[in-house]
């Protein structure tokens, strides 16, 4: 092989330079205003990070994505010409600690806003404190808690769709392509119940039917005895098992069906987020379908922004760390951190943010936003933002496991994920 034939992988620094240039061009007209920014004092973003506790493996990738996004943001000139800092504070994936962290970030570290929380119970525990402190609290959680109206006006989820929208938008594809008689296997608690309720209703609306619900106790370690409950006429088996028994679940399901006929399998990548899809024991998933928030494997039609995003975060074409091909990222969720940071930038600039006195204006500016186009700031895809419910809506991917890789076979329509508003936060006082 000649030396010239070697492919030169761009270094991270090159990529970031490139991103900076892209940003500078995109922002061209605004640069004059940046130069006039009155204060060079950095904008401080408090990041509530699941560094320890059960969210730690997600936290690691959220931190990595946020750090990468921050570099791009600052290379583009920061926010309103001011440099931006992120302060990561560990919440231990605990709601009480979460509330303490919000307070610490706002009162001690004098952060302008707080963002980044993933786990729902931490969001629920922290949101009231954010409301009391009157600080914008931008969550990256995927939970339906924001749009359900359970929180307050200071809490927004602009960077990721919620689980209700995700689950519901799967129904048209499943009923039209995989089958109309569905059996659902889910863990027997709130998460599984959400899937049960949202999907059962959505399938019925599409003219299909969920013929059996099989609820599995959360502490179950073996699943063989549940499989005979799957009705013979089942055309689609919808599975959303999570936790350390997932590999066992798939392995035993494979043993149950053997090489004979089986229903179509449809799952949520939450089950296998950060798990290599070609892990031993997952062979039975070959040919099955998954919801993905953001396709883990680089798709053939990926745009430039997708490649720039991967390079900046340090993720290869298989969704794994560039330094370790077995270290799979939480790819379907972590884009939300990136996108939220850029939405915050837009909102702060629209509100001409100068200091904590303008926090309310940031929330109002965000509520006034309606659309986020796909691009460098939104690599996962375009989104619509509902200012009344404080929730973003977007496109979902359905991928099929082919040769141990996830290949996108369908992208939902925006309206597949719509549902009637359940709250209007804009009518609430601050």
């Amino acid at each position: 092989m000649k030396r010239d034939d070697l492919k030169v992988t761009p270094t991270r620094r090159d990529v970031l330079k490139g991103l900076g240039a892209t940003g500078a061009i995109a922002l061209g007209g605004l640069s004059a205003r940046y130069a006039q920014a009155q204060s060079a004092e950095p904008i401080r973003i408090g990041f509530q990070l699941h560094r320890t506790g059960i969210g730690a493996s997600y936290g690691r990738w959220y931190e990595r994505t946020a750090t990468a996004a921050l570099k791009v943001l600052n290379d583009q000139g920061g926010i309103n010409g001011r440099p931006v800092e992120i302060l990561f504070e560990d919440d231990g994936t605990d709601p009480r600690r979460g509330a303490e962290v919000v307070e610490k970030l706002v009162m001690q570290a004098r952060c302008d806003v707080v963002m980044g929380t993933l786990f729902s119970h931490v969001v629920m525990g922290s949101a009231p404190r954010a409301g009391e402190l009157r600080v914008p609290y931008l969550v990256c959680s995927e939970g339906h808690h924001v749009a359900s109206g359970a929180l307050n006006r200071w809490v927004l989820q602009p960077g990721i769709t919620d689980v209700k929208s995700q689950v519901q938008s799967m129904a048209p594809f499943v009923t039209q392509n995989l089958g109309r008689k569905v059996t659902m296997v889910f863990p027997d608690y709130a998460f599984g119940h959400d899937h049960r309720d949202f999907f059962t209703a959505a399938v019925a609306a599409q003219g299909g039917e969920v013929i059996k619900h099989i609820a599995i106790p959360p502490t179950e370690t073996s699943f063989t005895r549940y499989f005979p409950q799957i009705p013979r006429e089942t055309e689609v088996l919808y599975h959303v098992m999570v936790g350390p028994s997932v590999l066992t679940f798939v392995k035993e399901l494979g043993e149950f069906y053997g090489s004979g006929a089986r229903p179509q399998l449809f799952g949520f990548i939450d089950s296998l987020e950060a798990v290599a899809i070609d892990s031993p024991g997952l062979e039975f998933l070959e040919g099955s379908h998954f919801w993905e928030g953001h396709p883990r494997y680089r798709q053939d039609d990926a745009g430039e922004h997708e490649d720039l995003y991967r390079a900046a975060v340090g993720v290869d074409a298989n969704g794994a760390s560039v330094t370790d091909p077995r270290d799979v990222s939480t790819y379907s969720h972590m884009f939300s951190v990136w996108e939220t940071l850029f939405i915050l930038k837009r909102a702060m600039e629209a509100a001409e943010y100068r200091g904590p006195a303008d926090r309310q204006a940031v929330v109002e500016a965000m509520e006034a936003m309606t659309e986020f186009p796909e691009g460098l700031e939104h690599p996962q895809g375009p989104k619509l933002f509902n200012g009344r419910t404080h929730q973003a809506f977007g496109l979902q991917s359905i991928s099929q496991v082919r040769n141990g890789r996830l290949v996108r076979v369908h992208r939902t329509a925006m309206e597949d994920g719509f549902y009637p508003d359940e709250v209007d936060y804009t009518t609430m006082s601050f």
Partner: protein
């Protein structure tokens, strides 16, 4: 009412669930049950076969080589003293991220995990980096005129202050809300340091090895080490023996030392147990939506103490069953020495994954200690990586190491037990061996089960 509403809202909060790739996911697919059976059988057969051996091998330590001391005594202790306060300053004013701040990384990974492993292999290295030793000596010399001649009576309490210290430490690590928060940890560490400094200055240099928990802990763990250094004038003799071989030569444990050893063993056991689905089920918590430490603080505090009580009762009960008629009272002290290899071995196995993961954060933090983008150790960006936890080969390698450590620790414990037993000229009957043998087999299996069970997070 507000609180009730919040709790209800949290319980009903619709939301996603997040699994993650941990070694516990892959290990569920490994035949760990056979390993447990094999290890249990190996310990049982060893324990039951030993009474039929006429002689146990004699304790023989070999001097590998001699070398001069590299530094005058106390220099490393002064360095450790300085480093401790630098780390406290880093904890107070450095990054709040516990995986980047060198204070929590040093306390929880370098000292608690790494130092235990080092001391269990190489002898009591803590002695040389004990940050109290040098300043206590200096202060006592300087203040000798005003200090009470016979101390303040702490020595009469034997190991009890260390028991209290260790229990507080174990609670802080396993149960409290934010043990890794750098600023919080800095305040706790500095307060504890000053408390011990004052007490040691008042009581004397001989007090910390028994009364201060870190000194007491490392002194006990060091007894299992296959290598150690013995000072001889200004030279050091580097010695070697089989792991745990020196234990039978130790003086019997006092009641407070017995309490300390059982606490060491049971606190790490509880740390493992409290992470399992089994424990979550017992305390009525759904492990798949674990509510966080704040929700289980009370029950886990009770659990920590209960496991300690249960472990102490089981060990004392087994010894009592071995020697009925009140004869066990005087032999519990020497016989409980056999728990030392188990305590050290389980600690190493339990924290091994933390060493492999958080150890990377330590190196990454040293690579760029001030977050300036430096690469002092030449580590590339994104160097920290946990891919090995989700591969079959990686998990099998980790499990094999843990299995070997647990097995060796229990075999050493069995041999120590018999060696002490013979030294006490106790009856060599099978019935006398059965209770302790059953306990050691059970603990072998429990240890391996804790390392392979489904865990939260």
């Amino acid at each position: 009412m507000k609180l009730l509403t919040l709790i209800a809202a949290m319980a009903l909060a619709p939301g996603p669930a997040f699994a993650h790739a941990s070694e516990r996911m892959v290990i569920q697919t490994l035949p760990t049950g056979w390993y447990m059976l094999g290890a249990g059988l190996a310990v049982a057969i060893t324990a039951l076969a030993i009474p039929f051996l006429r002689h146990l091998p004699k304790v023989r330590a070999t001097c590998l080589f001699e070398r001069p001391r590299l530094l005058p005594p106390g220099v490393t202790n002064w360095l450790a003293f300085g480093l401790f306060w630098v780390l406290v300053a880093v904890g107070l004013s450095g990054t709040p991220d516990p995986k980047e701040n060198l204070l929590p990384l040093t306390v929880w990974t370098v000292i608690w995990v790494g130092m235990t492993l080092a001391v269990a292999l190489l002898g009591n290295l803590w002695h040389d980096i004990d940050p109290w030793r040098a300043p206590v000596g200096l202060l006592r010399a300087a203040l000798s005129r005003w200090l009470p001649q016979k101390g303040i009576g702490l020595s009469r309490l034997e190991h009890w202050p260390a028991v209290l210290g260790y229990l507080s430490f174990a609670w802080f690590e396993t149960v409290s809300l934010a043990p890794s928060d750098p600023a919080h940890l800095a305040r706790v560490a500095a307060s504890y340091y000053l408390l011990v400094l004052i007490l040691a200055v008042l009581e004397g240099e001989d007090w910390p090895p028994r009364g201060e928990f870190l000194n007491a802990y490392f002194a006990l763990v060091s007894r299992v080490a296959p290598f150690w250094a013995e000072p001889r004038g200004d030279r050091l003799r580097i010695m070697a023996a089989l792991p745990g071989w020196r234990i039978p030569t130790l003086p019997p444990l006092s009641v407070s030392a017995m309490a300390f050893v059982t606490l060491v063993l049971s606190s790490v056991t509880f740390d493992g147990l409290s992470e399992t689905f089994l424990w979550a089920g017992w305390i009525g918590v759904n492990p798949l939506e674990y509510p966080g430490r704040s929700a289980v603080m009370g029950v886990n505090t009770a659990g920590l103490v209960a496991v300690w009580a249960a472990a102490s009762a089981l060990v004392l009960g087994a010894i009592a069953l071995s020697l009925p008629g009140g004869r066990s009272r005087h032999v519990a002290g020497p016989l409980m020495l056999s728990l030392l290899p188990i305590a050290a071995g389980y600690h190493i196995a339990h924290y091994f994954v933390a060493l492999l993961t958080d150890g990377q954060y330590v190196l990454a933090a040293l690579n760029d200690p001030f977050g300036r983008g430096w690469s002092l150790l030449g580590l590339p960006e994104h160097w920290v990586s946990f891919g090995f936890l989700s591969t079959r080969s990686g998990v099998l390698a980790i499990w094999s190491f843990q299995f070997a450590v647990i097995l060796v620790a229990h075999l050493a414990a069995v041999i120590v037990h018999h060696s002490v037993w013979r030294g006490l000229h106790l009856p060599q009957t099978l019935t006398a061996q059965l209770p302790m043998t059953a306990l050691m087999v059970a603990y072998t299996i429990l240890g391996l089960w804790l390392l392979s069970a489904q865990t939260i997070g």
